[in-house]
Symmetry: C2
Subunit: 329 residues, 2 copies
């Protein structure tokens, strides 16, 4: 299998690549990103991979700097030997809200460019699209199901919802073999805050554990729908095995998660690392972020995802422990 | 008010124009279509209108031949004095299924061109978008509500669903003042059959009443969601009065209709015009049409639309009588 990951320089793209590198069926991995690809291209990983690849079954890995808004470049990216594409690249929520045209260009039109390229140059290839709970918003039922109408209250959510519809129709037409995975908010992300409205959800855990101040911009009673990077990555890999599954009409799946209020997240942090750690959190409500995050749902009925073999985290404390183990030890 | 109608040469566009011509607040009406505009531009209507306009309060009417896929032409169409746009132009369902790229270009990208032009040149203008029950499909609840997920099983439905999302987001951002009206299947249309999968629903009434054979391509037990041209036109006009209504999060409205099986429609025809008329109907199931039409829902909860002042037909026999009165007498 030759697998392409868009957003390959991103946090999830990099994690996913590390997993797929050791997948028995993956022979070739292409990481595409609008950014240069730091971890594989310019570091020891790449060299190590190339060397290892000679001797073992590990996949060959290639990096490509591509702007998805450039249809011609996307066309060149999609070669007929590609068997599956993970489409993770996106302009994140707060940025898509602030820069409407950029969000549209990347999240909606960029996705279309990718689908068109697969349709014509790698017809029927698997497409695993990372969507988001941000497709939901406004007045919602207590629990979201597969039958709940999407009513996004952000441009990011709108663009993801539109891309979901494209993926489903391109699949129905036989142009691609698509599946849409609606990711929960991923915590705890390592590194720096980004322009996602949900960025604080990682910051309020990560920064205190690093002995740094973090700002919580939302009401602590706000419930969130969360999954760890480990679980989300494992679920992305799992989707690859569903290429022959008969999804019937609907290819859009709400991935499993945990429902926690911000307060409960902080309490978990206290239990894992003590009150002095949690004291690094400053509470400074910010309307623009609160409005977006509060419009997202926090409870999902995910029987279908579980039946399909997708997994969920056991507890938020486990998530914090995993973050510490991976990043702070 | 200066009102623009896209699809102005179409059946609904023409009907709507005739209504708006006498609307007390409408001073100017622009009819745009990819086709030349027959009824107003080239016939006595136009001359009569121009003459009448001098003496009465009737609106000035102008015709423009414009292809919505041409962003530049759409830009030129939208002048700052436009107060409301009815967006009726579309590639219809069977055609959009057969010609995927054309459907995408007109129904999705053409709508985007229009929204962009309004955003930049007539910011905040009203946009009344004619969507369709075809946004629904697959495994559906018995009764569709405002909270039902759209899962289109046709490219037409997909493109309409995408345009609905754009209209909502452009409105939320303050670029336009949009509302989406999901039209039932409109019967009885005069004239010739078109490439809509639902075209037969008019044909099986219209052709027999004209003493001509009609083909029914679907199972007669299939229930449909129907509204007359009069009611749909009246509801389109009514939407104009909702420009200051606070819709909150969701601008998409399922318009009222009647639920009837094809069998019940034929029985109404028999009651109005006798069995000999109904004998003109030939039953020749066609899979490509049946599949699309059977994927559409036939029952809707429309309390919200009724509360907003939208209306529904009294009976299908009334609809047939109105067709006869308008077209055959």
């Amino acid at each position: 299998m030759h697998i392409l990951i868009t957003g390959g320089a991103g946090f999830l793209g990099q994690r996913l690549a590390r997993q797929l590198l050791h997948h028995p069926q993956v022979k070739r991995l292409t990481l595409a990103d609008v950014m240069t690809l730091p971890n594989f291209q310019n570091t020891a990983d790449q060299a190590a991979n190339q060397a290892a690849n000679q001797a073992t079954d590990q996949a060959t890995i290639v990096s490509r700097q591509v702007d998805l808004t450039n249809a011609k470049a996307v066309k060149a990216l999609i070669t007929p030997d590609i068997t599956a594409v993970y489409h993770l690249a996106a302009v994140v929520s707060s940025q898509a809200e602030a820069k409407f045209d950029l969000g549209v260009a990347v999240n909606a039109d960029g996705t279309r460019n990718l689908l068109e390229a697969i349709r014509h140059q790698a017809t029927g290839a698997q497409l695993i699209f990372a969507s988001s709970l941000a497709v939901f918003g406004g007045e919602l039922p207590d629990v979201i199901t597969d039958k709940t109408a999407v009513t996004p209250q952000s441009s990011y959510g709108t663009q993801k919802a539109i891309a979901e519809l494209w993926v489903n129709d391109y699949t129905r037409k036989g142009f691609i073999n698509g599946v849409v995975l609606r990711l929960p908010t991923v915590v705890v992300r390592p590194g720096k805050p980004n322009a996602a409205a949900s960025s604080f959800a990682s910051s309020i855990i990560r920064e205190p554990l690093n002995g740094q101040a973090a700002i919580c911009p939302v009401d602590t009673r706000l419930p969130l729908w969360l999954a760890s990077p480990e679980t989300v990555t494992a679920n992305l890999v799992h989707a690859l095995s569903l290429s022959n599954y008969n999804f019937e009409a609907n290819r859009t799946i709400n991935l499993p998660g945990l429902t926690l209020t911000v307060q409960a997240m902080v309490e978990s942090l206290v239990r894992v690392s003590g009150q002095s750690t949690a004291d690094f959190i400053q509470y400074e409500p910010e309307e623009s972020i609160s409005r977006i995050v509060a419009s997202w749902p926090s409870q999902f009925e995910v029987n279908r995802a579980i039946a399909l073999g997708f997994t969920r985290d056991r507890s938020f404390e486990d998530i914090i422990h995993a973050f510490i183990k991976d990043n702070l030890t």
